[in-house]
């Protein structure tokens, strides 16, 4: 029983093969190539074919026929796979308009439901927004939404207020071009469900979900999330660039990659009885999932990313947040130019030290921003941290990747670090419903790349004074002991699968997992055991000079590479350029010039009537 999972990110297309080895599901092979939705291919199936070729090279099995068709089910010669699942995080997110009764009740629940998929919230309309019917109608119709998501009212409650919103939505949708009308998802007062179906008949396709807020105390967003996943597939298959072909590969169509983060963090939290966090900083979206045995939080920002959405990310976090992670002086222009260029060339790899620090400052700022939004706080503790996305995993050094992951969220306590460079999380999330045993077994068999375990001291530490003392005990080996000074990191070799007992003692003012002294069992990995005595909340220095000392040192300590010193000249404050045009009102001569050429191009005779156009 083999499973082939293909995940389409904005920059990378990843293929994963899961198969039974001695009756147990394991990750057998993986491959990665560039997503090909851009010039010149403009068809994502081209990238998929390349990824499958690479997977064939890695596994010795073929997955596609010579004419490019994916082979399923698995054949006698072991070509193909029994189950094929397709996930995507790439491409334009769904544009959503949300209509709700009250902003702090139904609308808030709707936004939580939307946070599970790749959605760009373009407008919200609610009963208390003060808009007239005409304004609501224009707001909805001109937003060009892919989905109109209507919520509001409790089951058995009043229907009249919501009827006004439904009327506005129906009128607005009916005014839109027939070929581009949105899907309507209704998850409000159940008494109106049938009426919504009737009203939108012949106007737009409608999906009915259970009321997102059945009563004032209860929230039920799962049904709505399921409908949103259907909408995601609906639009994935309607997109150009070959997505329509992908939708036919799997009975479940194209699923959102991020679903896997919910499934996997929740599963691991149940198994470990502790909190599990997953962070994926991609080119076009940032995903943060946190699950404990009793509670889980999940957030996607489809407008933040380190590639396609780098400019939008910078706008969200602000230049000063990025500067807080830079070990040199940089003008606003330099940072903004870098982000703008990343948007133009999302796969770009930092070419020099300045670019590298700006890239990682953007990454850290994005993760900090998400953690704040998710209420994780400045120094979250978790049993496991799963790290996805090329920006974190493609450093070429497991230590560097681990450091980025720890710093991005400011992790505290004892935390196991797992890397997911091949999109395994997305694959497992997609197969969870049909092959739950595969998920369990792949995770048990170590499907993720294990970076190791970090012991991170919380609280204030005294710089360069002993802050952490760790005794390490391994079977058949003499006891070893390390003392790590405040503000420093020490990496202890502890190989993949190796276990060790640690006696941890915190010196000075800090603590680990809320204790001054504790014993834990840890596992090693490609990095080993990271003893992080930098204190929490993590401060990269109060000024540029401090950061110029600390940031390169931390990288050197965790990677074992030589310290890359920041040139003294980079610490000299720089003048910000001042533009004549800044704040210039768009009036006068410039406006007249714009008006002169800003008109639509002159009409040429052509045999199309405007009436035809207007009537759609």
């Amino acid at each position: 029983m083999s499973i082939l999972a293909v995940d389409f990110g904005s920059v990378h297309t990843r293929a994963v093969l899961i198969d039974q080895v001695n009756g147990v599901f394991q990750l057998v092979g993986f491959a990665r190539t560039r997503t090909t939705d851009g010039f010149p291919a403009q068809n994502v199936t081209v990238g998929m074919a390349r990824a499958l070729n690479l997977l064939s090279e890695a596994t010795g099995r073929s997955f596609a026929t010579p004419d490019g068709r994916v082979i399923s089910p698995e054949q006698a010669d072991r070509s193909g796979a029994d189950t094929v699942v397709v996930t995507a995080s790439g491409g334009r997110p769904l544009r959503a308009v949300v209509l709700g009764a009250m902003p702090d009740l139904s609308l808030a629940a709707a936004l939580r439901a939307l946070s599970n998929t790749y959605v760009e919230l373009v407008q919200t309309v609610h009963l208390a927004d003060g808009r007239t019917l005409e304004q609501r109608l224009n707001t909805i119709a001109h937003a060009n939404p892919d989905i109109v998501f209507i919520v509001g009212g409790t089951d058995g409650g009043a229907t009249r207020p919501l009827e006004g919103l439904i009327q506005a939505a129906r009128l607005a949708v009916s005014l839109m071009d027939k070929r581009r009308r949105p899907l309507v998802i209704y998850a409000g007062n159940a008494a109106l469900s049938q009426s919504v179906i009737t009203q939108f008949e012949g106007v737009a396709e409608v999906l009915i979900a259970a009321n997102i807020r059945p009563d004032l105390k209860r929230e039920d967003i799962e049904s709505a999330r399921s409908m949103l996943a259907q909408a995601f597939n609906h639009y994935a298959s309607q997109r150009a660039y070959g997505f329509s072909e992908l939708a036919t590969l799997s009975p479940s169509g194209v699923m959102p990659s991020a679903r896997g983060y919910v499934t996997i963090t929740q599963y691991l939290a149940q198994v470990t009885k502790r909190r599990v966090i997953a962070l994926d900083v991609g080119s076009g979206a940032v995903t943060l999932a946190s699950a404990s045995p009793k509670h889980s939080q999940f957030a996607i920002r489809a407008d933040l990313g380190l590639g396609h959405n780098a400019q939008s990310l910078l706008s969200a976090v602000g230049v000063d947040a990025v500067r807080g992670w830079l070990p040199f002086e940089a003008t606003r222009s330099e940072i903004r130019n870098y982000a703008a260029n990343k948007t133009l060339r999302p796969a770009h790899i930092p070419a020099d030290l300045r670019e590298l620090y700006i890239e990682h400052a953007l990454l850290r700022s994005a993760a900090n921003h998400m953690a704040r939004e998710a209420g994780l706080g400045g120094a979250p503790e978790a049993e496991t941290l799963i790290l996805g996305g090329a920006a974190i995993n493609d450093t070429g050094s497991a230590g560097y990747s681990a450091l980025l992951g720890i710093d991005a969220l400011g992790m505290a306590g004892v935390v196991r670090l797992l890397a997911d460079p091949y999109g395994l999380t997305a694959a497992l999330g997609a197969v969870a419903a049909s092959r739950a045993e595969a998920v369990v077994q792949v995770l048990d068999e170590g499907g993720y790349g294990v970076l190791g375990t970090a012991v991170c001291v919380s609280g204030r530490v005294r710089p360069d004074k002993p802050a952490l003392k760790v005794k390490l005990e391994q079977k058949g080996a003499p006891k070893r002991e390390w003392v790590v000074n405040g503000g420093h990191i020490t990496v202890v070799p502890l190989g993949i699968g190796e276990k060790a007992k640690l006696s941890i003692r915190v010196l000075g003012g800090g603590e680990v997992n809320g204790k001054r002294s504790l014993k834990v069992e840890v596992v090693g990995g490609t990095v080993g055991l990271i003893l992080d005595a930098r204190g929490r909340p993590l401060l990269a220095g109060l000024n540029t000079a401090q950061r110029a000392e600390l940031l390169p040192r931390w990288v050197a300590e965790v990677t074992g590479d030589e310290k890359r010193e920041i040139p003294a000249a980079w610490l000299t404050p720089l003048d910000e350029p001042v533009l004549m045009s800044e704040g210039t009102p768009r009036t006068g001569k410039a406006k007249r010039r714009a008006g002169k050429r800003g008109k639509p191009v002159a009409q040429a005779p052509v045999d199309v009537s405007l009436d035809d156009l207007r009537k759609g």
Partner: protein
């Protein structure tokens, strides 16, 4: 090293051009040509309407109707009728009694729920082919893909405008120092090419000299709003920052001096594959081969490439080696690289594969 498919950003004197010509996202449109149809540069291949503002007239309320369906009997206009301001929309056909006048000129977009919705006049867009060629694909309601032979320079950013005009390279006299007389400057109504990073002064000088378009290597992102505001089409070839025009593009644009080109300075959208570009029809001479962008082009030793980013940003070079293993860069990253012989003093450098673009 396993096969690597590099980024392609053509700057070619003679190639097969597949050009997407699309209406803006918010426009509804009709494509006016068919697959395999020959089109000329100025032919309108699609017409679009950007939706206008909707005005809601509460007609049933105006007439005091309890049942909104009763409005039907009073309607004097139908859906899709064009109405002038103050033209009667509803009332008794006998002409007696109250009459409901249109508050605005426009089109009757809907009559429902006792309401009349008027759409104010919308903006009409006529989309020109921009290149002489053959329609290869029609995207219903959106636009077409045209195939032609010619020169093509793809850029990275545009200000969303479009121009068809002759190319004039800046040469020794900077654009901002060029004087205008009553007939304008030599850049008037032309597409000017500058090889230096743009400044505010150059942007303003281009507008003052009434250029139709401007092709430049780069500018600071601080100028972005100002560039978007300019009345002419503007395309950046390298990116944001202080990069100079690479010599291949500079030479190609020099060779096109005085010729009419189409500058389609589309503003890249995050999730769109369209790129800004300058194209010009060129016929192949006898024996001259026509390049075609290959989907499956792989990076090979000897290939000409452009390096992007860092100190070598925009420099051209040749691939001299493709190591199997990732290379440790000076910044500490260890990534798959190509060894590239760059021109001038740069010598040979390892450049991340992701930072290479094939232009030829």
């Amino acid at each position: 090293m396993s096969v690597y498919y590099p980024e392609q950003r053509p700057a070619l004197k003679l190639s097969v051009i597949q050009r997407e010509v699309m209406l803006p996202e918010d426009a509804s449109g009709i494509v006016a040509v068919q697959t395999d149809q020959r089109v000329d540069i100025r032919d309108v291949i699609a017409r679009g309407l950007v939706p206008g503002e909707f005005v809601v007239v509460e007609a049933a309320h105006y007439f005091g109707l309890k049942d909104p369906d009763d409005l039907t009997a009073l309607m004097l206009v139908n859906i899709d009728d064009e109405v002038d301001e103050l033209k009667p929309l509803a009332g008794l056909k006998s002409g007696r009694g109250k009459r409901l006048m249109s508050p605005t000129a426009g089109r009757v977009a809907a009559i429902a729920d006792g309401l009349i919705v008027i759409e104010k006049l919308n903006q009409v867009i006529d989309l020109e082919a921009g290149v002489r060629g053959t329609v290869k694909e029609v995207r219903l309601g959106r636009g077409v893909v045209i195939e032609a032979n010619g020169s093509r320079v793809q850029g990275v950013w545009g200000n969303g405008r479009h121009a068809i005009a002759a190319v004039i390279n800046e040469g020794a006299n900077p654009l901002e120092k060029t004087s205008s007389d009553v007939l304008g400057s030599r850049f008037s109504s032309a597409i000017a090419v500058v090889r230096r990073p743009l400044t505010e002064e150059i942007l303003d000088a281009a507008a003052a000299q009434n250029v139709a378009g401007l092709i430049a290597p780069s500018m600071s992102v601080d100028l972005l709003d100002w560039a978007l505001f300019q009345p002419y089409a503007l395309m950046l070839v390298e990116g944001f920052g202080q990069m100079r025009l690479n010599r291949a593009v500079a030479q190609l644009l020099q060779d096109l001096e005085g010729m009419q080109i189409t500058l389609d300075a589309v503003q890249p959208q995050v999730w769109s594959a369209r790129r800004p570009e300058a194209v010009m029809n060129v016929q192949a001479r006898a024996g001259e081969s026509i390049a075609r962008s290959s989907i499956n082009l792989t990076l090979r030793v000897g290939m000409s490439v452009r390096a992007v980013g860092g100190a070598y940003g925009g420099m051209l070079g040749n691939v001299v080696n493709l190591p199997n293993d990732p290379i440790l860069l000076d910044n500490g990253l260890r990534v798959p690289c190509a060894l590239v012989e760059l021109g001038g003093d740069a010598g040979k450098l390892y450049v991340p594969l992701a930072n290479l673009e094939v232009i030829g």
